[in-house]
């Protein structure tokens, strides 16, 4: 922001470099890792779990910047503030993944989501953008107050802020499965439920996604969601583990509803952004499922492994999907994807990318999405619990329903006739966007063909739960 206006270009470059450099300490930490490091009286931790998630958040932000460069320059948007706000949100996400006390995690969650209220209304002249931002803001405030209320109950009960102290207090006072703690858990789930857009807290998502600038939508559907899930995983396993069987049931129902509702509504959409919004709601149901079951069975390690693996694969393939939507809606100048008939012929590269990302979201091997779905099914059936199996069946049916709308985009761009208005336009595929495409497609393929790279996560989630 302190740079003069004419050097706006440097802002983007600086932000990109800064994010990239911030990966360096992570790599060093990973290389020199011996055991979890605690700071600030156990309220902040650096363990392998948090290092991996930090890496994920930084990469997502980096790719979002790349997506943004041309977009931001294409119109009179504020540049400095844009990058600054995104970086603030990143900082929040980084804090969440390491936080081990109520205050830190709350600050992290809010720091991650508050900048998004502004960014989602960045298209100032656009009514939809304003509407979406207002909705997002109002519900965001509500969600913050729900989380705070949940936390205040915990603090009131135990007088402690640090998770490990709260958990041991609840255990020693045999309050771990008391109604008050359960109420607190429900409040926290509801509050974070808004961030991760699970049913019935999902209603803001399609409107906000539609109104926000596209890179921000991508960031919202990936990073904000991941931040929310990480916070939820940490809170549920570190604080509320004792009442797992109660919130487990609630989450199982929510998860089944989220998958199904998201899918059924997505089937009706003709706007690609709204389609991806509902698809991301449905995907959230899949990410939630292993956590829900692990609450019932108490096998958190397997649940966390499945959810985090899903989150990582989902993040990259969904970013890729947004990239493709961005390319084609720019090209066809229409936000109704039925107008995109045959556009893949104008850019086979973008067409192939679209096909890969959308079928990966549908979970077709050998693309990464299949392994994500697979680990979820694995943890559901591994519970040897009839609820888990039932949720698995619901998931399997949903995977088939989802195929219908994921395949539809590929169908339109490859199989329909090219609209005459689109015949003479030149397809724009800028270099920063190509980087995003190549990077995400590589991850999508590698994670589908060599899912062995996720093996370390199994060990990591055991480290996470071991302390």
């Amino acid at each position: 922001m302190i740079l003069p206006r004419k050097s706006k270009y440097y802002v983007a470059a600086f932000a990109l470099l800064g994010t990239l450099f911030s990966l360096a300490p992570l790599v060093i930490q990973w290389a020199n890792y011996t055991s979890p490091i605690y700071a600030f009286e156990n309220s902040f931790v650096v363990d392998k779990f948090s290092i991996i998630l930090k890496g994920l958040f930084i990469l997502i932000t980096y790719l979002t910047f790349l997506l943004s460069i041309n977009f931001i320059e294409s119109d009179k948007y504020y540049q400095g503030e844009y990058y600054y706000l995104l970086l603030s949100s990143l900082l929040g996400a980084l804090i969440v993944s390491s936080s081990r006390d109520l205050l830190t995690i709350f600050i992290g969650i809010e720091l991650a989501s508050t900048p998004m209220f502004l960014l989602s209304g960045w298209k100032k002249g656009d009514r939809k953008s304003n509407e979406g931002a207002i909705k997002f803001f109002l519900l965001g405030v509500l969600s913050a107050s729900l989380i705070l209320y949940g936390f205040s109950l915990l603090y009131g009960l135990s007088g402690e802020l640090v998770f490990s102290n709260i958990a041991s207090y609840l255990l020693s006072a045999s309050l771990a499965s008391s109604p008050v703690v359960l109420l607190s858990a429900i409040l926290v789930i509801s509050g974070i439920g808004f961030k991760i857009s699970i049913v019935p807290f999902h209603s803001w998502a399609p409107d906000t996604y539609e109104g926000a600038p596209l890179p921000i939508t991508a960031y919202l559907s990936v990073s904000s969601k991941a931040t929310g899930f990480v916070a939820l995983i940490i809170l549920l396993t570190k604080v509320f583990a004792g009442s797992g069987s109660s919130w487990g049931i609630i989450l199982v129902i929510i998860s089944g509803l989220t998958m199904t509702l998201g899918n059924l509504v997505a089937l009706q959409q003709n706007n690609p952004i709204r389609l991806l919004a509902y698809s991301s709601i449905s995907q959230a149901g899949f990410i939630l499922a292993p956590i829900a079951i692990s609450g019932i069975t108490g096998d958190y390690q397997d649940g966390i492994f499945a959810s985090v693996t899903y989150l990582i694969i989902y993040a990259f393939m969904n970013l890729g999907a947004f990239l493709c939507v961005h390319l084609f809606s720019n090209y066809a100048g229409s936000s109704d994807f039925y107008e995109w008939g045959g556009v893949a012929r104008k850019s086979p590269l973008a067409g192939v990318l679209t096909t890969i990302f959308f079928f990966s979201l549908a979970g077709i091997p050998p693309l990464g999405g299949w392994f994500a779905k697979f680990v979820v099914f694995r943890s559901l059936l591994g519970s040897a619990n009839s609820i888990g199996v039932a949720l698995g069946v619901v998931g399997a049916i949903n995977a088939v329903i989802a195929l219908v709308y994921y395949a539809r985009i590929s169908k339109v761009i490859w199989m329909d006739e090219l609209k005459s208005v689109n015949e003479d336009k030149i397809f724009q595929f800028e270099n920063p966007l190509k980087v995003v495409g190549v990077f995400t497609v590589l991850i999508t393929f590698v994670s589908g063909i060599f899912p062995g790279i996720f093996s370390y996560l199994g060990e990591v989630s055991s480290i996470f739960f071991g302390n």
């Binding site: 079928f359 077709i364 697979f374 399997a396 395949a407 169908k411």
Partner: protein, 522 residues
């Protein structure tokens, strides 16, 4: 030839087409000749590799899994890259590489609209990787991945190069092009089956010492590790996954649509190889791992197969569309294959194996011929065709020959599968309900009569008679060199298998007997 004994040769057969497909995508679109030559060369190399496997394969111990390897793949879930072939998978693997070569030869000059050889040939090669991989995979997860890989190329083949006729489909408000409806229907049906199949695989994994290895699971299964409701449920979902692919009545409805809409080469590959993935799944996975359940389900499978045979033939009698008739005939023929499998006897399953190969060769050829005729006449309506022998003598003669083979004329390949399946059903495995099986056998026998009926009627309508006037001033091309070089090998193979069925039984017999004696004792 050490390369072929440690699994590298087998892996090459699987992945060489995929690598070639990737290379093709890098060749500029304008270099059409280069693309075509490259695709042909790579499919030939793959076929040669599989032929070398044929010589490396030790037929004296065909029941053993050979030429394979096992490498750790996904450690965290104990899934391995485990491959190998035995007498059951070898004929199908060679069939797959062989048909792919012919499909590419045919495509050199006969590409469906919109031409674009680059995309089309690349998709065929990706498809080949999926098919070959399914036949060599010995790990359930690996099997699942290959089983699914075939979906995407076939979806795009039907959807992009398929039939553009507009039709009304119940449930759709507007009229829809056949190809669009058929492609998504094919995809959704198959995925529906395989999504549940995956749940079944996971069930086996958790009950079976956390392994996905098929040989290990067979050991566990035959020693009685899977019992009770659990085993019933797992067999049910595996059945669902495989039966959709076969397809068995009443899960067959995607097949006529997909076949009718697919481009010629797509229909050929679909009929010749893709349907076999389902019946192969029964022989390789469902029966040996869950023998008791297979026994319990066998009567039901036999009844469904018998219904499929009768239903397929009756539906054929009602068709006016040549391609759709052949598609329904597939339902009937695969009914014989499944009837053979359901009998759970060596003779029945050998019949199924030879039936699969014969159906691949014969129906593949029928789809080639009908596709080529549809291209020449611009119609598949049998009411308008007629006098084909006079208009296109070569194609007509081949059509006559293939129809005879398809109706099971002794001396040609189609005979053994039908005849022996009925024989197997007459005398099923001890303990199976003979009344059910003999009733199915009678139904099957009636089916053979009906099959002869509709094929001869089809020949009468298409090949014989006088050509209608609408063709008199048209310049109709008979089969050219590309078509003949794709078809003649299939004709030769039909005769060879018909005269020397030992070509197939020599490989399958020991493997089938070993599998059955392990599963059911004795």
């Amino acid at each position: 030839m050490e390369l072929f004994t440690n699994g590298i040769g087998l892996s090459a057969v699987v992945f060489f087409p995929l690598i070639s497909a990737f290379v093709i995508t890098l060749i500029p679109k304008a270099q059409e000749q280069l693309i075509k030559r490259f695709a042909l060369a790579s499919s030939l190399i793959t076929f040669v590799l599989s032929a070398i496997l044929l010589f490396q394969f030790d037929f004296s111990s065909a029941e053993k899994l050979q030429l394979g390897n096992k490498i750790s793949w996904i450690k965290s879930i104990n899934a391995n890259y485990e491959i190998g072939i035995d007498g059951i998978s070898l004929p199908l693997l060679v069939l797959s590489t062989f048909i792919t070569v012919l499909a590419i030869i045919y495509s050199l000059e006969h590409l469906p609209e919109p031409k674009s050889p680059k995309g089309f040939l690349a998709l065929i090669l990706v498809l080949e990787t999926g098919m070959n991989g399914t036949f060599v995979a010995l790990d359930l997860i690996l099997f699942f991945v290959f089983f699914e890989i075939v979906l995407l190329p076939m979806y795009f083949m039907i959807g992009i190069w398929g039939d553009k006729t507009v039709r009304t489909v119940s449930g759709f408000k507007n009229q829809i092009e056949t190809r669009l409806y058929a492609s998504i229907k094919f995809f959704v049906f198959t995925l529906f089956g395989s999504a549940f199949m995956l749940l079944g695989f996971l069930g086996l994994y958790y009950r079976g010492n956390k392994t996905f290895s098929i040989p290990e699971l067979i050991e566990l299964g035959t020693s009685g590790a899977f019992t009770g409701t659990f085993a019933t449920l797992v067999f049910a979902v595996l059945f669902l996954g495989f039966a959709v692919k076969v397809p068995m009545w009443p899960l067959h409805t995607w097949l006529p649509d997909a076949h009718t809409a697919a481009p010629t080469v797509g229909s050929v590959l679909l009929a010749a190889i893709l349907l076999k993935l389902g019946s192969y799944g029964f022989v390789r996975i469902a029966i040996p791992i869950l023998p008791e359940q297979a026994k319990a389900w066998a009567p039901a499978i036999a009844i469904l197969s018998a219904i499929g045979i009768i239903y397929g033939s009756l539906a054929c009698l009602a068709q006016t569309d040549l391609k759709r008739l052949i598609a329904f005939s597939s339902v009937g023929h695969m009914g014989f294959v499944m009837l053979g499998i359901a009998s759970l006897t060596p003779i029945g399953i050998n019949a199924a194996m030879i039936g699969m190969v014969a159906h691949g060769v014969i129906t593949g050829l029928l789809f080639f011929l009908s596709g080529s005729m549809a291209h020449t006449y611009h119609t598949r309506d049998m009411g308008r065709l007629g006098g084909n022998m006079k208009l296109l003598p070569k194609t007509g003669a081949l059509l006559g020959f293939t129809a005879m083979a398809s109706l099971g004329l002794p001396g040609l390949a189609g005979f053994w599968g039908e005849f022996m399946a009925l024989l197997g059903a007459y005398n099923p495995l001890d303990g199976l309900n003979t009344t059910v099986f003999r009733t199915s056998m009678v139904a099957g026998a009636i089916g053979t009569v009906l099959t002869a009926g509709y094929l001869l009627w089809m020949l009468q309508r298409v090949n014989l008679g006088e050509p209608s006037d609408e063709w008199s001033d048209k310049d109709l091309h008979d089969a050219d060199i590309y078509e003949l070089s794709a078809w003649i090998p299939l004709v030769i193979l039909t005769v060879l298998i018909g005269v020397f069925p030992k070509l197939i039984f020599g490989a399958t017999n020991d493997a089938v007997i070993a599998m059955l004696s392990k599963a059911f004792g004795g």
